[in-house]
Amino acid sequence: MDYSWIQIAVAAIFFSVVITLVLSRGYGWLSPTFWRNAAVVSSLIMTFILLWLTLDTADQVRPGSGRIPDWTVINYEIRLVWDGAKRRQVPAVGRETGFFGKKWTRQEAYDLINKGKMTLQSRNCMECHQILGNGAYYATDLTRAWLDPWWEERIMPLTGAKTREEAMMAWLKNPPAMPQGRRKMPNLHFSDEELKALIAFLKWMSAIDTNGFPPRFAVAQ
């Protein structure tokens, strides 16, 4: 993108006003014609800018493009680090750790994450949780769920699991059996295969650069 948001906003308003004024020569600003022209011109200009920015955004959010991680990120350690220039947290990819004791090829990782996304939708997760900040407000935001210290602090001792992914799997098998806090997650009867995929999806999502949302994640406890 060669233009700043201020340039885009000023240009959008400038062209809307000027084109409306040119088309409405001879009509007063209180006439219906003036405002009809304003309505049509501003709608078309804003729609055009939205479509143009959509092409740019679609290009920047391709997996592996920088903002969105490649599928194979599930093979690596993921951390949030403070970016002093941007003054916010950014995801960082660390050493290779494997996922469920294995290194996944690009195709395998894609298939797994895809299955995880379908599982996420099929269990209607968004109607309690938020995904990238969107959803219902009854349960936690899942954007950084993979990175939540609660898995190590509480769930691993509780389940006796040795890795974070195994702890998540053990807990999600039957959440009401190990309730955390007052609100309980119902048992959604995940299969092992679905859980592995869902956890891969959550791990991949935790490496998306969200401009620092949710704020101060796990900075203070």
Binding site: M46, P63, K115, G133, T143, L188, P215
Partner: protein, 473 residues
């Protein structure tokens, strides 16, 4: 047109208006369903074990939200079927097709509700997304139902365009309506796809969710309130159309790029933070214009109207839209604040107040106008003992509900996000904090006030205007 709309000479209803009555009846029934599931969800906040194994929160919340979207959309479409023959002076073209698809939709909605309620979830594969639940908030409807909805909107659009063409009459109101409905129908298809890339998924998901409720629905409301004000107060067409064009210029001029306030944190580039913040800060402007417009019209006529409940709901709509969508939206739309408040109870406060103001007020205005004209002899002005109770109880109820959400939202924003770092443990510590937990009972109490208002409303709609002589005439 104002004279014929005012119905001084009661005449037979058009077939399209009879269809509108069926739309309104279904809207009011689904409104009741919305409240039932909302009450259960509100109680689950207080007692999380309530119905946990039978109807978990996610199912109640899905039904609460989906019933709302469908009944409001049905109410708005019913309003178009009501006014379209009056605007064009003829029966709606394709009315038989419209009736046929309407009953298909009623059957389809019933099936979707039963599947949501009894099947709830499915295995993680495409079958679930096509036949049970798409799992994307607000547009959970399985794909087959999406296709039915698109067919429904297409028939609706055909009715409007063909009727305008047959009448050889394109008014400013009809022009805006057609322009808006094309956009509304096309935008829905943006939500009918599956992609694994969750960022792109949400990017296009907002084209449906935001560009419906913050753009195309607002303009549809502008058209319907324009017709309503002409009927209720006899406002001149030229004045109505000039205001409508101004509102369209402002709604689309700010709302289309205001979409950017949903692109702050979903993985999209940083320029959306500036663009979204700037344009969404301007989004309240058209809502201010609507308040000025409605108040000017009502004041110019000293509230002298043919239909008192409709005019009160129209004024409540203008204020509610401005306060709920405008003020409560602006409160959290700047990225500097939104980073902390996004996805907290504050968003729910905004949602409740905005939908109530912008859309419920409009649909009830339309329904009271229809009810007046459906009863013989027609009561002018329409009035009763009860509508003002429904009006007062529902407004009190929604203020209490949204107020409770606002307080718990502030507490959650401060405790979970600003103080404790947004984690699972921070979340639990925020919702168990007394500043949050104490609001839940208040919210539940005001929900019952709202339900009482609904019950009075239903009784009033069934009885108002049936007396031989006007109550206050």
């Amino acid at each position: 047109m104002a004279a014929s709309l005012a119905g001084n000479k009661p005449q037979e209803l058009f077939e399209s208006q009879k269809l509108a009555l069926a739309y309104f009846a279904v809207a009011i029934i689904l409104f009741g369903a919305q409240l039932v599931f909302g009450l259960i969800a509100a109680y689950q906040y207080i007692n999380p074990d309530f119905l946990l194994d039978k109807i978990p929160f996610m199912t109640n919340r899905t039904l609460h939200v989906n019933a709302m979207i469908v009944w409001l959309l049905v109410g708005l479409m019913g309003g178009v079927y009501w006014f379209l023959p009056l605007e064009t002076g003829r029966e709606v073209v394709g009315i038989r097709l419209a009736k046929f698809i309407w009953w298909v939709i009623v059957a389809g909605v019933s099936v979707v509700i039963l599947v949501y309620l009894f099947v709830q979830v499915g295995p993680g594969n495409a079958f679930t997304l096509w036949f049970i639940n798409e799992g994307r908030e607000y547009i959970e409807a399985p794909r087959w139902a999406d296709i039915a909805i698109v067919a429904w909107v297409a028939v609706f659009l055909y009715n409007v365009i063909a009727t305008a063409l047959a009448a050889r009459r394109i008014t400013g109101l009809l022009g805006v309506l057609i322009f808006d409905l094309v956009a509304l129908g096309a935008l829905y298809t943006a939500g009918m796809h599956y992609t694994v890339n969750v960022t792109m998924d949400q990017y296009l998901w907002w084209w449906v969710v935001h560009l419906w409720v913050e753009a195309t629905w607002e303009v549809l409301v502008g058209v319907l309130m324009g017709w309503s004000l002409m009927y209720l107060l006899g406002t001149p067409r030229k004045l109505i159309e000039t205001w409508l064009f101004l509102e369209v210029a402002l709604v689309f001029g700010t709302g289309i790029l205001g979409l950017g306030h949903h692109y702050f944190w979903i993985g999209t580039p940083e320029y959306w933070i500036g663009l979204g913040g700037f344009f969404s800060a301007l989004e309240p402007l058209p809502l201010v214009a609507m308040v000025v417009h409605a108040l000017y019209d009502a004041g110019a006529h000293r509230l002298n109207t043919v239909n008192r409940p409709a005019v009160f709901w129209a004024i409540a709509q203008a204020f509610g839209n401005f306060i709920g969508a405008g003020v409560w939206g602006f409160m959290q739309t700047l990225p500097q604040i939104n980073m902390y408040s996004h996805g907290t109870q504050l968003a729910a406060a905004h949602g409740h107040l905005a939908f109530f103001g912008a859309y419920l007020g409009t649909v009830l205005t339309l329904i009271y106008i229809a009810v007046q004209n459906a009863r013989r002899p027609m009561q002018i002005p329409l009035d009763s003992k009860y509508w003002s109770w429904a009006f007062a109880l529902m407004i009190l109820g929604i203020i209490g509900i949204a107020g409770s959400f606002t307080i718990s939202g502030f507490a959650q924003t401060m405790i979970e996000r600003a103080e404790l770092g947004s984690t699972w443990s921070a979340f639990i510590r925020s919702y168990t904090h007394p500043w949050y937990a104490n609001t839940l009972g208040w919210r539940f109490l005001f929900a019952w006030v709202f339900v009482a208002g609904y019950l009075v409303l239903v009784y009033d709609l069934l009885t108002i205007g049936k007396r031989k002589e006007g109550y206050a005439a």
